[in-house]
């Protein structure tokens, strides 16, 4: 699921229904869009509404009937918004049915995190958020565990020395949630009473601040990457309820200087995969036993600098140096590690990467800079093993235009890119404000590249693209409009004739409410 994009799209100017009153202007704050139940969904904080559109461009909206939306999260079949005001609540809206249910909360919270199934939501106070309202005393060590099925909200006291809860991670079986603070982790039983508090403060006073936290697939371990140590911090979780406890262990790799990334293996819950920067070796990749059995540690050394690792479906590990966000700079190194035979292969892309790798199945796409300024290079990577060696197969593709966003369609192993191209002679409709065009005018295009054949299909759209993604058998592309403009294109028919666009999604139902005297 894409990260949420909450931003002020525009100032929403509202005219009071009684007329003659001055216009009310306030920024439009929106979360989304995000895919929920094959729909593209937004949460409009400003007007406290949820709006969604399906691939056939049918738009619906539902009012939250509450005020002051502070946070919104997107589950598999519903959206949950935290609201404040006189009656704080967690309001959920089912998609696509639009049923609204509210669970009353005992306090107003800043951020929410939803479990993968959508049943549980954990709400917390975020000390890092700037507050526009007068300061109110807040206990940052207080969270709410919300059960949307039982419609209950339980207050949980974290009781740590830390002041900044920053993240919540759910175990895959949803029996536990790990609340990550600046120098502590608290593991809370979901549907139970057990709690394990783990301060991350060393005897010399140094703090270990978690930077990445993952549960083992069987939920028996929590693995952390923290500042202050190059080791993988492993927390073994034991017992339940009154017997809940934990054992902390630091899994070390000799010669490691800095831990860069962690991953777990669904088929091997007793181990954790990690990639390190070495003291003298650029990269060390390791498979560490969660119980600290050093004799089961396996490491490989690589000559290039990798900072990320991904476990592919064929039990090979892809190591690369791509950054986390588009537009950032990463390095060109790629490597592969066969976990079964410890085979290693290394290579370099044609240029530095400029966005995260799009990974799926047994292949990956890397976006990196091209030689010319108006083109983007793309490399399809496949990790294959034969009897004797592991093979890193690189196949480059060059696209005209600048990539703005991309996503991997794991169903058919294709990558979908949103690209900015020159509008002139592209086939895009002229801009209404400039019917004769300007030399620097651009528009958006969708390019779809097949990982296997490298076949490319493209469709030119009429506006620049902000984000792309895949819903079922459709590609969606959002445009830069203030009120939610989206184009849908079938994956099976990538052409302008098949594309469908809907504009102003966020305006759906808004004026009905205004006309009815509501804001």
């Amino acid at each position: 699921m894409k990260p949420l994009h909450t931003f002020a799209l525009a100032n929403l100017a509202l005219v009071a229904c009684t007329g003659g009153d001055p216009a009310i202007t306030e920024p439009l704050v929106v979360s989304g869009p995000t895919v929920v139940a094959d729909h593209l969904v937004w949460v409009d904080h400003t007007t406290a509404r949820v709006v969604w559109v399906d691939v056939d461009t049918a738009v619906q909206a539902a009012a939250l009937e509450r005020e002051e939306v502070t946070s919104a999260v997107f589950g598999p079949d519903r959206v949950v918004a935290l609201t404040g005001g006189a009656r704080p609540a967690a309001v959920s809206v089912r998609i696509p049915g639009g049923e609204v249910e509210a669970v009353e909360l005992f306090a107003k919270f800043d951020r929410a995190f939803v479990a993968p199934s959508g049943r549980y939501v954990v709400a917390l106070h975020d000390a890092r958020l700037a507050r526009s309202t007068p300061l109110v005393a807040v206990n940052h060590n207080e969270i709410a565990v919300i059960d949307l099925v039982d419609r209950t909200a339980t207050r949980v006291a974290l009781d740590t020395e830390s002041t900044s809860p920053r993240n919540v991670i759910f175990s895959s079986d949803e029996t536990r949630a790990a609340v990550v603070l600046d120098a502590a982790v608290v593991v809370v039983e979901l549907g139970g009473e057990g709690i394990v508090r783990v301060p991350l403060k060393l005897p010399n006073g140094d703090r270990l601040t978690p930077e990445q936290v993952v549960f083992a697939p069987d939920s028996e371990y929590l693995f952390l990457r923290t500042s202050g140590t190059p080791d993988v911090v492993a927390l073994e979780l034991l017992g339940q309820g009154a017997a809940a406890t934990g054992i902390l262990n630091f899994l070390a790799v000799p010669g490691a200087q800095r831990l860069l990334d962690l991953a777990v293996d669904e088929d091997d819950p007793d181990h954790v995969l990690a990639v390190f920067r070495g003291d003298e070796i650029p990269t060390i990749a390791a498979r560490l036993a969660a119980d600290g059995d050093v004799s089961r540690t396996r490491t490989v050394e690589l000559a290039g600098q990798a900072s990320r690792l991904e476990l592919l479906d064929n039990r090979t590990v892809l190591l690369h140096g791509s950054p986390d966000t588009i537009g950032s700079a990463g390095n060109a190194f790629v490597g592969g590690w066969d976990l079964e035979d410890d085979l290693v292969e290394q290579d370099n892309l044609a240029g530095p990467t400029m966005g995260p790798a799009a990974v799926g199945g047994t292949s990956a796409f890397f976006v990196h800079s091209a030689e010319s300024g108006n083109a983007t290079a793309l490399t399809a990577l496949a990790l294959r093993r034969d009897a004797l060696r592991l093979n890193v197969a690189l196949r480059p593709v060059v696209l005209g235009g600048i990539v703005r966003d991309y996503a991997f369609s794991s169903n058919d192993e294709r990558v979908v890119l949103g690209v900015d191209i020159v509008r002139e002679d592209s086939g895009a409709a002229p801009l209404p404000s400039r019917p004769y065009g300007e030399p620097n005018d651009t528009t958006g295009a969708i390019a779809v590249v097949d990982a296997e054949t490298l076949g490319i299909e493209t469709v030119v759209l009429d506006d620049s693209i902000q984000h792309v993604g895949v819903i079922g058998d459709r590609i969606y592309a959002t445009h830069g409009g203030a009120f939610g403009d989206v184009t849908f294109v079938p994956l099976a028919s990538i052409d302008r004739a098949s594309a469908r666009r809907v504009d102003g999604v966020l305006l759906t139902g808004l004026f009905d409410r205004i006309a009815g005297g509501e804001r």
Binding site: V156, A157, D159, V188, E193, G194, I195, V196, R197, V198, P199, L200, K201, L202, P203, N204, D206, D231, V233, L238, G239, G241, A242, A243, A244, T245, G246, I247, L248, N249, F250, L251, A252, V253, P254, G255, D279, E280, D291, G292, D293, V294, S295
Partner: protein, 539 residues
């Protein structure tokens, strides 16, 4: 009785790596500029305190009276000073449980035949017994009234002597005092007030006398005298233990060695300036001196107390003292000339029959084994490097020789020169004389323990990259390496027939590894200091 432990050797790393041994400062004494920088009886030559007899540095063994984890048969107990707790580690699953004790737990000692330890808390001015079993932990504490920093537990577990070792500033008003705690009463939950005893000045050692399985006497050695405490008389009003004054040449804290064993009534002492070996008879409360022509450079005592041996490096002799005969008959004392090796240190084997003879400051690559039954000496000279320390397995069949590196070696053969320059150790079959060298590059061995038919050597890398523990199969003379995440600190074994070895390592949060030498498996628990702070349970 406490004695020098031949199973566990603690070595000083990096102290004597230069090729010229005469210029190496002994770590205990430190470098010097003039003679007055050195203890009485030593000279300063080339910045090192050396013996006037042979101008070689003092032979030394590192004092292991440092707070280190203690193993019982089933658990490992480690102190977490920062969190004022004792951590009980189950070596099977590395589960860590913590018991809070009064502030600043600073010394711990096993209570024999139990899964319990006694712990002294300095700021907490207390002594605690911490007991562990599968069901849980228990703690009983008694107030001491003063700050103490060390303890010794009697072999029968009945008493603990709590004291301030020389080098630690005593608490106000506690100069020269020791406290005796009835551990049995404390374990029953009926703590009795500790009995304080005035025991002289600057305490260096505490020993016990055991008769028919019961501890009857405690001996506190100070700089100037020995205080003999009759434990059965502690309740007597006005009881003051007897003191035996030490001669001036023994009244030292630096360079004095005292040894004793549980089953013996004798405590033997040597010192840098004392020409002889002093024997303190605990039953008779007498001090007898076996006069020699020179000071002994090392001392050892058989487990059954029947014989003591001393190294006389200046004359290259070993003195053999059958006890008690040597105290009354000078003719029973044997002075054996040693030919072929330098007699700087002696190490009695578990059988009390064989003595390993060597010197750290010998130019030749060899050591000797003296058979006390016929006074014959067998020289083992199939070594490739100089000897730093020699340890013999319990069964006397194998010796592990820890070598010195010679960075300035000028041997012509480049391979041999590289061998000289490396650190390393050798495994020697004492029956056949076969030796197997293991080079370890620039990583020096730091400690060695025996467990069954294996030995384990820890190595500390000065570049902080390749710390490791190597296990040696003493039958096959083959080693296996296990990497450690950080520099090793302390090593030990568990009780009984447990083949496992534990190794603590430097880590700000505490790190310990459990090595199963037979299964070839190393499990590491790091952060056990933090485990004391984990809180679990119902919300």
């Amino acid at each position: 009785m406490r004695r020098h432990d031949s199973l566990l050797l603690w070595l000083v790393v990096g102290a004597a790596c230069a090729g010229d041994n005469a210029s190496v400062p002994t770590p205990e004494l430190g470098p010097c500029a003039v003679d007055t920088d050195c203890p009485s009886g030593l000279l300063c030559r080339e910045a090192a305190c050396v013996s006037p007899d042979d101008l070689l540095p003092v032979e030394f063994e590192v004092d292991d009276r440092i707070s280190r984890p203690v193993a019982t048969d089933a658990f490992l107990f480690a102190l977490s000073i920062d969190s004022s707790s004792v951590l009980v580690i189950d070596p099977l699953d590395l589960e860590v449980r913590a018991v809070l004790v009064p502030r600043e737990p600073i010394a711990v000692s096993r209570i024999p035949n139990t899964d319990s330890v006694a712990v002294v808390s300095r700021e907490g001015k207390s002594l605690s017994i911490v007991s562990a079993d599968e069901d849980g932990l228990a703690r009983e504490s008694v107030a001491l009234g003063r700050r103490y920093a060390a303890l010794e537990v009697a072999p029968d577990g009945r008493y603990a002597i709590v004291f301030t070792p020389d080098g630690v500033e005593p608490d106000e008003g506690a100069e020269g005092l020791v406290a005796i705690v009835d551990l049995e009463a404390l374990a029953r939950g009926e703590p009795s007030a500790p009995v304080e005893i005035a025991a002289g000045y600057r305490h260096t050692d505490v020993f016990f006398r055991v008769e028919r399985g019961q501890t009857t006497l405690a001996v506190v050695l100070g700089k100037n005298d020995a205080t003999l405490v009759e434990l059965a008389r502690l309740d007597e009003p006005g009881y003051r233990p007897a003191r035996i004054a030490l001669p001036e040449t023994l009244a030292e804290v630096v360079g004095r060695e005292a040894i004793a064993v549980e089953s013996s009534q004798y405590v033997l002492m040597r010192a840098l300036r004392h020409p002889g070996i002093a024997v303190l008879d605990l039953d008779l409360a007498t001090l007898t001196d076996v006069t020699l022509s020179t000071a002994a450079t090392d001392l050892d005592l058989a487990d059954d107390g029947s014989v003591a041996v001393g190294a006389l490096r200046a004359t290259n002799q070993v003195v053999v003292l059958p006890l008690p005969d040597a105290l009354t008959s000078s003719s029973s004392v044997r002075l054996l000339d040693i030919d072929g090796v330098r007699a700087g240190q002696v190490e009695l084997g578990a059988s009390g029959r064989r003595v390993v003879v060597y010197s750290r400051f010998d130019e030749v690559e060899r050591f000797g084994v003296l058979d006390l039954e016929d006074d014959s000496l067998r020289v083992f000279d199939r070594l490739e490097k100089k000897v730093r320390q020699v340890a013999v397995s319990d069964d006397g069949a194998t010796a592990i020789v820890l070598h010195d590196a010679e960075p300035d070696s000028t041997v012509a053969d480049p391979y041999e020169r590289a061998v000289d320059q490396d650190e390393g150790y050798a495994i020697v079959d004492l029956e056949t004389g076969d030796a197997q060298l293991k080079r370890t590059g620039d990583v020096a061995p730091t400690s060695l323990v025996f467990s069954g038919r294996h030995a384990s050597v820890t190595l500390r890398d000065p570049d902080d990259v390749a710390h490791r523990v190597e296990t040696i199969d003493l039958d096959r003379l083959v080693t296996q390496t296990f990497r450690l995440g950080s520099a090793p600190e302390f090593t030990g074994v568990f009780g009984g027939d447990d083949p496992r070895v534990w190794v603590t390592q430097r880590h700000v949060a505490g790190r310990i590894s459990i090595l199963d030498v037979e299964a070839e498996r190393l499990r590491t628990l790091t952060g056990y200091q933090l485990n004391a702070r984990i809180e679990g349970g119902d919300r």
